[in-house]
Symmetry: C2
Subunit: 205 residues, 2 copies
DNA sequence: GCCCACCGACTGAAGATTCAGTCAAGGTGT
DNA sequence: ACACCTTGACTGAATCTTCAGTCGGTGGGC
């Protein structure tokens, strides 16, 4: 199924999308990037739309992989949770590519109903993962118990998408983006360091 | 300068972008929508890129107008602030158009450096307006004093962009989006109702 | 000898941009 | 008041470009 060749093409597709956007994806450019003929792309994916769909799946899958790697670095739930969010905000080629492609795909989905369903599904996956971590963190006394995990998860992921887009569109530095997300986690779940939520007036000045 | 004609074309451009995206903006479609010839568009804007630039300015300006209207509805700063955020999340044609166009333009800026600067400028404008309101709210004892106004403003606006994009791309309902933003305001500034922040363990169960 | 993965060259359509003017409004010299 | 010129707004149709998608064919493993 997903032969080497398909993977090779999809990897190239993500690279091209990250670099020129969905709208800038020219089948010919893609074929050059992947080092194959244009015809082969049609052979494997049928048409442009089919290619997009597969690319989206591919991006999700790759992102999922990062995610699960993150979850296995034994840290405590609160740290894991932060890691999971900050993962999307790094300036390594792989992450930048994924983030950019993700943003593009989401933007395209506004006008292309075909992309909506897979997009929603994987958004939900991400949100649910995060919500689960929040619950764990709460159970471990590392997060404000009063916060609704699903609400918080949805907010934090949406925030990450928002700052990520600002970063990529040059309205914000990466450092600032990360800082803001960290601050949001604190605002939503309280100072995580040691004990419980009720951060109240505990903070410095 | 901005003759009637230009305004007419730009209004049509926003409509077309909101409906088919920047990617879907065909000069011919635009000319039909605006009821003028394609050539006139080139006459006024030079080329496609020039058109985009002017459209972005136009969207900003229009958004600014909403904003300032919002600020004049005498409510208290805390209410104003919420209003300013929620303004972008309404299902009226005007707002939907503006939001969709805004999202598209931001997404385009990732690949089109020309758009970056005006985009940053007007993002900053929005953020600063919000930060000012937060300061007022704090001064009036309606918001947690410990929150850094600029951080919070940047987070809340980015969150609005994030949920807005999810709404437009069909991953979230409008109601949910509004609810989440309201929740974020509370998480960042505390229960606003009466007195200060230190909401602490005050909330119900 | 047939099927699968694959390629180079091509096409048709869609779109962006340009061109060669038309038209009405505002001088200007007489 | 009136011919005449200029200019800015505007158009229809042609032209130049860019693409997605197709076709006929090739090689190599079985």
């Amino acid at each position: 199924m997903s032969s080497d060749r398909q993977r090779q093409i999809l990897e190239a597709a993500v690279r091209v999308i990250a670099h020129s956007g969905v709208r800038g994806l020219r089948v010919e450019k893609l074929s050059a990037e992947a080092g194959v003929s244009t015809a082969l792309i049609y052979y494997h994916f049928g048409d442009r739309a089919g290619l997009m769909r597969k690319t989206l799946e591919f991006v999700n899958e790759r992102a999922g992989r990062y995610t699960h790697e993150a979850m296995e670095i034994g840290k405590d739930p609160r740290e894991q949770l932060e890691l999971l969010l900050l993962l999307e905000l790094q300036d390594t080629p792989a992450v930048r590519e994924n983030s950019a492609a993700w943003g593009e795909l989401r933007a395209s989905a506004v006008f292309n109903p075909d992309l909506r369903e897979p997009l929603s599904t994987s958004t939900r996956g991400w949100v649910d993962d995060l919500a689960a971590m929040i619950r764990q963190a709460q159970a471990a006394g590392l997060a404000a118990a009063r916060a609704d995990p699903l609400d918080v998860a949805e907010r934090l992921t949406a925030l990450v998408e928002g700052v990520s887009e600002r970063w990529l569109s040059g309205s914000m530095t990466l450092e600032r983006a990360r800082e803001l997300v960290e601050g949001a986690v604190i605002a939503e779940l309280g100072e995580g360091s040691s004990h419980v939520p009720r951060d109240g007036s505990a903070g410095p000045a």
